[in-house]
């Protein structure tokens, strides 16, 4: 069952089409990733789904409720972690959580219990009486995540949740998100971090210029757009033309990126043997979501 559904969702800012007729369905219990370059329209899309920004056109349903008529009810089920920090500067860490809990009508005792719980979840207990200006950027980010859990949401909507986190904190957050998913919390995750999308997401949509270019599991996206391995070939400038010609002759799927050739969809190793003479360098590596991302969004940029 689709827990979030959009139909022809469109957002215009004056003449700028930020989201262009997007129809998507997020399944109950999945982690749905939204990838795209800066300005692709991810945040605009998410802000409409969280009912803080009205669509220019189109419809949104969350848990079967039309957002236009039931936004108040729907917002009670959502845990929103925004891209920009909007923590309450006038309050301490604990007061931030308590005050936020009150917006959801959570009774005081329960709010306190949950606040302490989410603080310990994100290793912020020792900071509970600190003022916001005493927190580092990464701590604020974690507090923003903790705050998003205060209403025990059934759906989490996360806009670049691990941006600015150190590796330990990032793994901590990934671990918590994985745990939440195993508890059945649906996640809509917007990210620039391809590893994050690969690790966390069941399905990934690649967005560009307001449109969804492709949507599938990370693995299938990789298989479809780049194959399992990427061969990177670096050659001298006088070898360049010969190499291009050779790659074309062999009918290989390749791209030239920054003086390097990347060869995709290599079904048979023989097709690449002898391509590089002793002067060039060849590197084989595992294909990643990043390759898919670059191919898809890079290609349409050229179009």
């Amino acid at each position: 069952m689709a827990i979030i559904k959009t139909k022809n969702l469109t957002k215009k800012f004056k003449d700028l089409l930020a989201v262009d007729s997007v129809s998507l369905e997020v399944e109950d219990g999945e982690c749905f990733g939204l990838l795209g370059p800066n300005g692709a329209g991810k945040t605009s899309l998410i802000r409409m789904i969280t009912a803080v920004s009205p669509p220019t056109q189109g419809e949104i349903w969350v848990m079967g409720n039309n957002l236009k008529t039931h936004s108040q009810q729907v917002k009670a089920f959502l845990g929103v972690v925004p891209q920009l920090d909007n923590l309450d500067q006038d309050l301490t860490v604990l007061q931030n959580l308590m005050t936020f809990a009150r917006y959801f009508d959570i009774p005081k005792d329960e709010a306190h219990r949950r606040s302490m719980e989410v603080l310990s979840l994100f290793e912020l207990e020792s900071k509970r009486n600190s003022h916001l200006k005493e927190l580092s950027g990464g701590m604020k980010r974690r507090l923003l995540l903790a705050r998003g859990l205060i209403n025990l949401p059934q759906i989490m909507i996360l806009d670049e949740p691990t941006i600015g986190l150190d590796p330990q904190a990032k793994y901590l957050v990934w671990h918590k998100l994985t745990e939440l998913k195993s508890q059945g919390v649906t996640q809509l995750l917007c990210t620039q971090n391809m590893e994050e999308a690969t690790v966390l997401c069941d399905r990934v949509a690649i967005m560009h210029q307001g449109k969804i270019l492709s949507l599938d599991t990370p693995r299938r996206l990789i298989a479809k757009y780049v194959g399992n391995e990427v061969w990177e070939i670096e050659v001298n400038s006088d070898e360049r033309l010969r190499t291009v010609k050779e790659l074309e002759n062999r009918g290989l799927d390749f791209e030239e990126v920054g003086g390097k050739f990347q060869v995709f969809h290599i079904e048979d190793e023989k097709s690449v043997t002898g391509l590089v003479n002793s002067l060039g360098r060849l590197q084989r590596r595992q294909a990643t979501l990043e390759d898919v991302f670059l191919r898809l969004t890079g290609r349409s940029l050229a179009e």
Partner: protein, 254 residues
């Protein structure tokens, strides 16, 4: 216009909590100024002015000072205060992602601004009473009047805030609107002492009916035509409140 719901109280509570946690950083100054004005103008200028409308000058200005500073409280709270919360701290953005709507947030801000008016008015009233400047038990209605006045001025302030491009814009609001009202709404001089054209302008200023009511309550001069002043304040409060909900929704939901 979409209506607001009882959830507005959550925003009111947030502002209340922060105010009482930090009250010592703001409240004494907010109360000291009107007291200084009252004593300096009342006693100093009063020595030259003598009697106004059959009262000592300090008695004449006390009810006006109450009304004027109640206006200032709501106006500051819902211009600079609200703008900082809205634009710099993004507090509204955070709240409208919870079950509260834009209308709830704005109603909470306005009722909080009105509460500031009520507190300011009550404190000045108490001090004025201590100086024996309050002669009637009708003055017990002053806090209610200040609250109503506060709703009117907080709504007007929020309405202006919903169009303000930058925090500097509020300089215009205060120098061109609030401060002139302070001087031309009958706080320091009876309206009859102005030239006819200024008198007409005074009657348009929303502070004028409040000063008139405040003076009547403090002096216990209750007349039927005060109902017109009251009706005007209620009507303006409802009008500004309703428009501000619409303009703020337009500003906040982009």
């Amino acid at each position: 216009m979409k209506p607001f719901s009882w959830r507005f109280i959550r925003v009111w509570q947030r502002n209340r909590d922060i105010f009482f946690r930090l009250w010592h950083s703001e409240a004494p100054g907010a109360v000291a100024e009107p007291i200084i004005i009252l004593l300096a103008m009342g006693l100093g200028l009063g020595a030259y002015v003598g009697m106004v409308d059959g009262q000592k000058y300090i008695e004449f200005i006390a009810p006006g000072i109450i009304a004027a500073y109640a206006m200032f409280s709501a106006s500051f709270e819902c211009t600079y205060g609200s703008f900082i919360r809205m634009e710099f701290q993004k507090t509204y953005d955070a709240i409208i992602a919870t079950p509260l709507s834009v209308e709830d947030v704005i109603a909470g801000e306005i009722f909080w601004g009105a509460t500031r008016s009520l507190m300011t008015g009550t404190v000045i009233l108490t001090i004025a009473a201590a100086f024996q400047l309050v002669s009637s038990p009708w003055a017990l209605l002053i806090p209610a009047l200040c609250f109503l006045e506060g709703i009117m001025f907080a709504s007007l302030a929020i309405l202006f805030t919903s169009f303000a491009p930058a925090i500097y814009s509020f300089n215009y609001y205060f120098t061109l609107f609030i401060t002139p009202m302070f001087f031309f709404s009958g706080v320091f001089f009876p309206l009859s002492s102005f030239t006819p054209i200024v008198q007409t302008l005074s009657w348009i200023a929303p502070l004028t009916p409040v000063v008139r009511l405040s003076r009547a309550l403090v002096n216990g001069e209750i007349q039927l035509d005060l109902l017109w002043a009251l009706a005007l304040i209620v009507a303006l409060a409802i009008l500004f409140f309703s428009i501000s909900l619409v303009t703020m929704r337009r500003r906040l939901t982009v």
